[in-house]
């Protein structure tokens, strides 16, 4: 097996650095001062916001791969777009679960039909649909093209979800980092824990994508050797 098909230094380094900074982030998160209104419950933000950020930003990474596929037509780009969306779905699910666990003590319910939650659920459904379409189309070229189109069209939902708290003010608090004004709505004493966790999850995301990408590459290589096996 060639060197490129083994787990490389870069994946291993980012995996271990990610785990290390996750530990530091956890320490900072638990030593940060309690919030004035919510007490200790708010600490779930240190998992909720970073996973949402990494998950949503990575959907744009998938868009870049999708556009690259449409422009160049190389199977690798299609594979990478799928891998990125797969890992992104993992992070977005984490966001949903942590958000629900946070919602119960603060709002009294796990789920409510509120703009941010609704738009987020739609976002998840779009990308679950991405995998449904992939499994339904047999022709690899059309499958790759259709996936790229869904990924590009679906990403429109990311800014909608992000801006929903501003456009339709309701239960959900406003953005932690407001990109439209460049301001942070977060207490400076709590900021280091959040930033370290964003870094940690980004490193982990990078490592996961590389490892999953390697697996996908092997899978497709195997399928090329014996098409019936897949």
């Amino acid at each position: 097996m060639s060197q490129s098909k083994r787990m490389d230094i870069l994946s291993l380094t980012s995996l271990s650095l990610g785990l290390l900074s996750l530990g530091i982030g956890a320490f900072l998160a638990f030593t940060a001062p309690p919030a004035t209104e919510q007490g200790h419950v708010y600490r779930i933000i240190f998992l909720h916001v970073p996973s949402a950020w990494v998950g949503m930003v990575s959907l744009f990474v998938a868009v870049v791969y999708s556009i690259l596929y449409l422009a160049r037509g190389k199977a690798r780009y299609d594979r990478m777009a799928t891998v990125v969306i797969e890992v992104a779905l993992l992070f977005l699910s984490l966001t949903l679960i942590s958000g629900m666990l946070w919602g119960r003590p603060t709002w009294g319910v796990y789920w409510t039909w509120e703009p941010r939650l609704t738009t987020f659920a739609i976002l998840l459904v779009v990308y679950i649909g991405y995998f449904v379409v992939r499994s339904a189309i047999e022709d690899p070229e059309l499958r790759a093209k259709a996936s790229a189109a869904i990924s590009i069209l679906g990403a429109i939902n990311v800014p909608i979800t992000y801006m929903s708290v501003k456009w339709w003010r309701s239960l959900h608090q406003t953005q932690t980092f407001d990109l439209t004004t460049g301001r942070s709505n977060f207490d400076p004493a709590m900021l280091p824990a959040l930033l370290v966790n964003i870094l940690a999850l980004s490193l982990l995301f990078f490592a996961f994508v590389r490892i999953r990408g390697l697996l996908a590459e092997r899978e497709s290589a195997k399928q090329e050797l014996s098409p019936q096996a897949g």
């Binding site: 649909g129 339904a136 022709d139």
Partner: protein
């Protein structure tokens, strides 16, 4: 022939075929009528409840009709093997998308109008807000038609497309349906014009983004 006349002729040809065949349109309208009756039975007979549900019913029904009709845009081309002839015409392929979009939009508007009056009759939707509702209908239909035409073209040659199409279509157009329902509800409740205009603006943004993006992406996905 300029691009605009090409688009116009393609839409006109499809519309003529559709009106001559009648089966697609009639089936859609009949399906909607049955659906409205069932919904009315389920939600009624209190007049207040029905009126409250009317905007939602209108748009959900239109979304279903839209997905029923979405297959029509490319269905005939595939059945008659004329899709390849269309693709052979020199020049960019975006015009095929825009022609089909125009056809889909016209179909949706015809069905939408019928549906509007059916809902007004069965669900007590007040027609005093008609001009505003018509604006919402046009804006919402453009958003819906843009995505449905795109996906219909993409999945045209696929087996099982009838089941697949609504599956990929609905999540993407939910924002359009949502904004249309809210705009219609605001109109029916007689809320200030500013509130309705906000939803219209949002719909317009969606329309512009979807129509441009789908037009750009269409030539790539059609070849397959």
């Amino acid at each position: 022939m300029t691009l605009l006349t090409r688009i116009f002729w393609l839409a006109l040809r499809d519309l003529t075929l559709e009106l001559r065949g009648r089966t697609g349109l009639l089936a859609a309208v009949f399906f909607l009528f049955t659906m409205l009756l069932i919904l009315g039975l389920a939600l009624g007979p209190n007049q207040g409840d029905l009126r409250k549900a009317a905007p939602g019913v209108l748009w959900v029904a239109l979304a279903f009709a839209g997905s029923l009709l979405a297959g029509r845009a490319f269905g005939l081309e595939v059945e008659d093997n004329t899709l390849d002839d269309l693709l052979l015409i020199p020049g960019n392929r975006e015009w095929i998308y825009y022609g089909k979009l125009l056809f889909q939009l016209l179909l949706l508007l015809i069905v939408g109008l019928v549906l509007l009056f059916l809902t007004a009759g069965l669900f007590y939707l007040p027609l005093s807000a008609l001009p505003g509702i018509l604006v919402t209908l046009v804006l919402g239909s453009v958003g819906y038609a843009s995505v449905s035409t795109f996906y219909a073209g993409m999945l045209a040659r696929l087996r099982g497309r009838e089941a697949l199409l609504p599956l990929v279509l609905f999540p993407v157009v939910v924002p359009v349906v949502l904004a249309s329902v809210r705009a219609t509800a605001s109109l029916v409740e007689g809320l200030p014009p500013g509130e309705v205009a906000d939803w219209w603006r949002l719909l317009l943004v969606f329309d512009v983004i979807y129509v441009t993006l789908c037009g750009l992406l269409f030539p790539y996905v059609l070849e397959g």
